[in-house]
Amino acid sequence: EREEGPAKMTDAEQCIKRIQSHKGVKRVFVINSRGQTIRSSLNDPEEERRYAGLISELTKKTQSMVRELDPENALKFLRIRTLTEEIMIAPEPTESKYTLIVVQDPSDDEPSMK
């Protein structure tokens, strides 16, 4: 099990920094199970709240759809592509910890998806 405290935060910070510096990555968020932003690459709390809240809602809805289809199944990853960006969501399956959200510019991606 993970430890709480400064050690865990440093690892998480390093991870977030690494992802953020990847080419094409626009934003990185870490939210908790209540949709509150724990870490963000933005400095705009209004925007953060909006984004985190909506993405959190969508993640919850997707998770419940997956469980409805099969109660023993669980969402592992969600990838949403729009005209302007690609949003990747790595939820914590137990819903008691954190969800990682990365927003990137899809044109900087290799054409691997379809």
């Binding site: 909006r50 984004y51 909506l54 993405i55 809602e57 969508l58 809805k61 997707t62 759809m65 997956v66 409805e68 289809l69 099969d70 023993e72 199944n73 669980a74 969402l75 592992k76 990853f77 969600l78 990838r79 949403i80 592509r81 729009t82 005209l83 302007t84 960006e85 998806m113 379809k114």
Partner: protein, 98 residues
Amino acid sequence: MSSEVEETLKRIQSHRGVKGVLVTNNEGIPIKSNLTQEETDTYSSMITQLNLKADGIIRTLDNSDSLTFMRIRSHNHEIMIAPDDEYTLIVIQNPNSD
């Protein structure tokens, strides 16, 4: 449905790991599927709802933007959703056959 579409659907269906291929119209009514009636109805109604929700959220974040693709990965399968104006294509595959 044109033969080109049929061929594309067949090709997707025969791809290794693909468990189901569905096409719904823009009201979420399934018009093509290789799953059982029950599975078809379940998947098409749930995914149509989710599709609408996702698209709504994207437009709320930016009203000039819209959803073009969604990929739902779970332990047991991966669901890919490609919405369009008139139809939505849904493919369900084994999550490890990337």
